[in-house]
Symmetry: C2
Subunit: 245 residues, 2 copies
């Protein structure tokens, strides 16, 4: 235990970063979890990809290091979304013991800075060498250490806010050509609710940056649906008009 | 210097909170700065209200403590907006020495979690007992320690984003009855640019939650302007419609 000259216990919080990668897999909103090594329970345990920050490392750098080292991902546009610093984060002694073993440091308290990205699941299927990495439906999370479950919950609220403020996030997530159904399902999965089909189409058709193409779906049993594309130029024009008030 | 058993220097970052209070004073966007006591330079120096977090304190609690203790403010709706953790934050040795004197701790590196609020300047004029607290135009900032200047710059960008996503922020800031000029000037000051008067009126009139009243300005030399009010019910109706897609 670290003490000052008068033998009083010193208070040194640690700082970590945690990365929440959300994606859609099998029609479900999923989060990328990594194996929590040496948990000492004999079974595979999971956690968010994360790490204490290194001495000479800025927060963003630490977050990208975590993704590169724990899952081998490099091209993900991570964005900081919230710091979590409740003293209760380390109230579970087992979590603290695990982290002390893993980091070789004495841990009192950890403030974590959480990062978030919406990414395409198939582009982020990590190699087996990174251990038991898993895209897990957010509705079926296993037991998670610290406040990782709360962080994921807040991340989902945050990604919904992002899509309202900056709908282009959704279109970057979709293929270049998409059907109205694909667009609606993407929203429904992110918001975890059903939208009225007719209203959704009406709103969609009113948006100048969602442009119908001449292409139709091929090789489907039902009536072929039209493909749409996202027009980034029109989108940016509209945004810059809105922001000039 | 703290060392581990092998005599190696240990890395213990500190965690602080800093509060950016923005307001409009004399037609200028201003930030609340507090005196940086014992800076040792013989003149009054300023900084953002902030503090290292206490051992048993969550981040939000620390931010509210700072406002209560350093400027006596309690009813401000602070919101966390970003953690700043560059190792370069402590590259100025004088800042580090000052903080070491003030905190009686050895300081390597500090990660700060920044909070933000838009508040009414006249409601937040701290008592003199809190020292040389000042609402300072953001265009005329004095020398500030650490990265406080950068934090203020990011806070201004953030408040602009907030007003786009949640325009009610602006109306909470205005008096209950306001003129079109008052509304436009508030936007202009926050955005630091002029808006076209005619376009602004057109957009304003298209918003169902900005409601003209029968009241006119009194005792003015120029033609009396009409007062408007913000209709929160209509605003919330519109928002819930928008979010149902």
């Amino acid at each position: 235990m670290l003490t000052d000259q008068e033998g009083k216990k010193m208070f040194y919080p640690h700082v970590s970063v945690d990365c929440v990668l959300l994606g859609i897999d099998n029609e479900e909103l999923c989060v990328l979890l990594v194996e929590r090594k040496n948990a000492g329970t004999g079974k595979t345990e999971y956690k968010l990809p994360g790490s204490l920050i290194y001495e000479a490392e800025d927060l963003d750098v630490a977050a990208y290091r975590v993704l590169a080292d724990t899952v081998g991902l490099k091209r993900v546009a991570l964005k900081q979304f919230r710091a979590f610093g409740s003293p209760a984060r380390t109230s579970n002694k087992e979590d603290v013991l695990w982290l002390e073993r893993a980091s070789n440091m004495e841990i009192d308290r950890i403030v974590t800075v959480a990062y978030l990205a919406l990414c395409k699941v198939r582009k982020a299927r990590p190699d087996k060498k990174y251990g038991a990495v898993q895209w897990t439906p957010v509705s079926k999370l296993p037991g998670l250490p610290f406040d990782h479950r709360e962080i994921i919950g807040e991340a989902i609220k945050e990604i919904r806010k992002w899509t309202e403020v900056e709908p282009s996030i959704i279109f970057n997530y979709l293929p270049a050509l998409f059907t109205a159904l694909q667009l609606r399902r993407t929203y429904e999965i992110i918001y975890n609710k059903e939208f009225d089909v007719r209203n959704f189409h009406k709103k969609m058709n009113a948006l100048p940056f969602i442009v119908p193409t001449d292409d139709l779906e091929k090789g489907v049993a039902h009536r072929s649906a039209r493909y749409y594309r996202f027009d980034k130029v029109k989108y940016n024009q509209l945004r810059s008009k809105l922001n000039k008030t």
